[in-house]
């Protein structure tokens, strides 16, 4: 859920954009991390590792808990990857792949 009235902070957002997660359309603010937009929409499970669900853990690109597939590229750290309009985001299962 987004915070609308904060005692200390005012939040500045980019324009609203649409993206898809597992085929479903979601909305978020351009430039915020993909994980933030998913989280605001209530999506906490971002990946599966050894059959176990994984989500956001460090939120600053340290820990690799939130690796997802974005526009066909695997192992994207969605906690620091800025959201852009039309992104296709998918759950990642396993170790992902490298493409050259």
């Amino acid at each position: 859920m987004r915070i609308t009235d904060h005692p200390v902070l005012e939040f500045e957002h980019g324009p609203k954009v649409q993206f898809t997660f597992e085929g479903k359309t979601y909305e978020g603010y351009e430039g915020e991390p993909i994980a933030a937009a998913l989280h605001a929409a209530g999506v906490k499970k971002l990946r599966e590792h050894d059959g176990r669900p994984r989500g956001l853990f460090c939120a600053i690109g340290n820990c690799s808990s939130c690796l997802m597939e974005v526009n066909g590229v695997t192992n994207v750290r969605v906690c620091i990857e800025p959201l852009k309009a039309g992104m296709v985001v998918r759950l990642q299962t396993g170790h992902g792949r490298l493409e050259f």
Binding site: H39, A59, C63
Partner: protein, 360 residues
């Protein structure tokens, strides 16, 4: 290959202060940071800082970061490389980095490493479930991006981070079910503890989280009492309903880059774990390399900023800017840091440095 008089790796409170101090002393500085904006973890610190006026006490972290950014933007001696991740430091002094998918190399006459720290993990059943976060992640979500991490939170750890983040959760409209702490005493400042206590958050000492409950994400937690050997007392388990478990169980220095300089590393728990051995001027045993902030020892941001100023001036002095006025300024910061650490709350840090300087 790029060259700069001084390279600063990391643009948090320590790195920003280091760059400013060195640039003000008259040397050219290149500062790299992996983030899109400068400030490191300071950008989510909504509370007023402690310390004295010279360290901007009474000012919120988010305001301090604005001041530092402004000063850096106005300083012609500082070049900032954002979105730039340092990849390695080689034995010939070459620093490799990646910026927007491109590989780059550079050298500096002196190098200041201010890479900060990472959050520690706590072992308990199901600790990999979505909904278990580091306290820093909770702060990032709510204070940078304006998103509640959940509706009801269990906080693990009553150090300053656990207490401050609990308070910030309440400010963000999130309920904090309890703060559990394995130690018999609250580790953070008692004023922070008092302010969350009077908001109705129970602080439970000698208590831990035994397990997270849930299949796809956290739906609860099992709490249990601990004995004086930090073992769970069987039969004391109780379940509570929470959708978020927040870990504030300490930080560990991000010392990978530092250790690549082949400096002497030491394991000193009081300083946060593996830390580089360094002198009073924050120079490592690998000469020409300096550290500042949490990578040097885990401490408050106020201390990190002072260390940044010391490292920045020390590095500038070593490049030849050895004007008595600059040396005097550096020595004043050293005294200031000593003063900050001289009280009861600095005892742990002081004992850590006693080990480091004892040569064991």
């Amino acid at each position: 290959m790029k060259f700069s008089d001084i390279v600063v790796i990391g643009g948090g409170p320590a790195g920003m202060s280091a760059a400013l101090a060195a640039a003000d002393a008259g040397v050219r500085v290149t500062m790299m940071d992996r983030g899109q904006v400068l400030g490191g973890q300071l950008i989510k610190q909504t509370h007023r800082f402690f310390g004295s006026e010279r360290e901007r006490a009474g000012t919120r972290g988010i305001e301090i970061v604005k001041i530092l950014r402004q000063q850096i933007a106005e300083n012609k001696n500082i070049e900032v490389l954002k979105n730039t991740e340092c990849l390695g430091i080689y034995s010939d002094g070459v620093i490799s980095y990646e910026t927007d998918g491109k590989y780059g190399l550079m050298t500096g006459e002196k190098v200041i490493i201010a890479t900060g720290a990472a959050e520690k993990m706590l072992q308990f059943e199901n600790n990999d479930l979505p909904g278990v976060y580091g306290a820093g992640a909770v702060q990032t979500l709510m204070n940078v991006y304006g998103i509640q991490p959940g509706q009801k939170v269990l906080m693990i750890g009553a150090g300053n981070i656990g207490l401050i983040v609990s308070y910030q959760l309440m400010q963000a409209g999130v309920q904090v079910a309890a703060i559990v702490e394995a130690m018999p005493k609250i580790g953070g400042y008692k004023v922070h503890a008092s302010k969350v206590a009077r908001m109705g958050v129970p602080i439970l000492t000698r208590k831990t989280c035994k397990a997270a409950l849930g299949t796809d994400h956290v739906t609860g937690a099992v709490l249990a009492d601990m004995d004086e050997h930090f073992q769970i007392i069987p039969g004391t388990e109780e379940e509570i309903e929470v959708d978020t478990i927040c870990l504030a169980v300490g930080l560990a220095p991000l010392s990978e880059l530092v250790s690549q300089t082949r400096c002497k590393m030491r394991y000193i728990p009081q300083l946060g774990g593996f830390v580089p051995e360094r002198d009073e001027n924050l120079e490592l045993t690998a000469k020409g390399y300096y550290v500042a902030g949490d990578v040097s020892c885990i401490e408050e941001a106020t201390a990190a900023m002072i260390e940044g100023s010391i490292a920045g001036l020390s590095a500038a002095i070593a490049t030849g800017m050895n004007h008595p006025e600059i040396i005097g300024k550096r020595d004043e910061w050293i005294k200031q840091l000593e003063n900050l650490r001289s009280g009861k709350t600095g005892a742990k840090i002081r004992s850590g440095f006693a080990v480091m300087n004892g040569g064991k």
